[in-house]
Symmetry: C2
Subunit: 206 residues, 2 copies
């Protein structure tokens, strides 16, 4: 397998740039020429590695799904019981938002694009959702968390996190600045909201 290393690197750089551009400017709004210009290469080099724009999108989807899966699983590793598990999920997602801001944007973009891209993404994320839902369900059955539909709870969390982490202009209108400090504040507020909803009275200290 003497695949040239520089080659691998080119394919990879394309993938990274594509995720960033697709996630921020949108899939249709990003032309292969733009992408190539940003990388200092020619469009045909992109088409060499990814024969069509759609295939490129699929590759980005796969990488994004992998990344999200890894991050979430890692975040869940040392998670404790009850609300600690929800907290672990939320923190993992926000960490993702802080370190790879364009990734959540790309996630949203893919769900907006609809099939087949969105189907591909969700098929890859489904096992994760299932395990997280089971994860939550256990705690509810054990009585350590108020009873809710675990999948809908996850959906709500997912929506809130992506919303709170990505909608910059909305945030502005809602009085939030796009700073890291503000992001942390939003995370804590969301956690406090969820804790109140799921375990009840004991308020989380400021």
């Amino acid at each position: 397998m003497a695949t040239g290393e520089r080659a691998q690197r080119t394919a990879d750089r394309i993938l990274v740039a594509a995720m960033r551009e697709f996630g921020t400017r949108g899939y249709e709004a990003t032309s292969l020429d733009d992408l190539a210009r940003g990388l200092g290469i020619r469009k045909q080099t992109i088409l060499y590695w990814y024969p069509t724009k759609e295939i490129l999108l699929e590759a980005v989807v796969d990488r994004c799904a992998d990344e999200v899966a890894v991050r979430l699983l890692r975040g869940l590793e040392g998670a404790g019981d009850g609300f600690g598990r929800v907290e672990a999920i939320v923190r993992a997602m926000f960490r993702l938002a802080a370190r790879h801001p364009s990734m959540l944007g790309f996630l949203r973009e893919v769900t907006r694009l609809g099939p087949p891209a969105s189907t591909r993404l969700m098929d890859r994320l489904e096992p994760l959702v299932a395990s997280a839902a089971g994860f939550l369900d256990d705690e509810m059955v054990a009585g350590r968390m108020r009873r809710h539909d675990p999948r809908l709870l996850l959906l709500a969390v997912y929506s809130m996190v992506t919303g709170m982490a990505t909608e910059v202009e909305v945030l502005r209108a809602f009085g939030e600045e796009p700073t890291l400090a503000s992001l942390v504040r939003r995370r804590n507020e969301l956690l406090s909201l969820l804790e109140a909803a799921l375990v009840g009275d004991q308020a989380r200290p400021r």
Copy 2:
């Protein structure tokens, strides 16, 4: 003002179709030719009423903002105290999602497009956010609701509603069908979650 009635109607039909298409397929992905074909007219007719695609977008933004404002204010009219107010907001948003499914999609699309479109939208919605935030703040000060940052609470609600109402493919992965009954279920689940978070123990009856 003897503005031709049929004329007015054409301009209006364009606006409605544009909101639907922009909201479902996306702004860049919708060509003026597509739009015109769907309406049984020529692209130049669209350009007669809205000289550029961007101006058309602005017009749709304005109409969307108006519609959302009217719906929300109407929903808040008879709202009672405490959690009733949150419930009124949520119900109004879900009603919007049920009757004009493309509208929430359009809202999301605009926030994704970024300035200047998103700025325009948010400028028009800002007073509404402000009044709703005050609305909530009053109840919290009066002790009828648990204390949270009212604007962040609104943002969370907004995110959850748009997420739960628009992300069809995500919903599929999370085990939800795109039916009206399922939408109602999601609304109730969200309300129960929020009630638990904001007022506490008394569970809402199934």
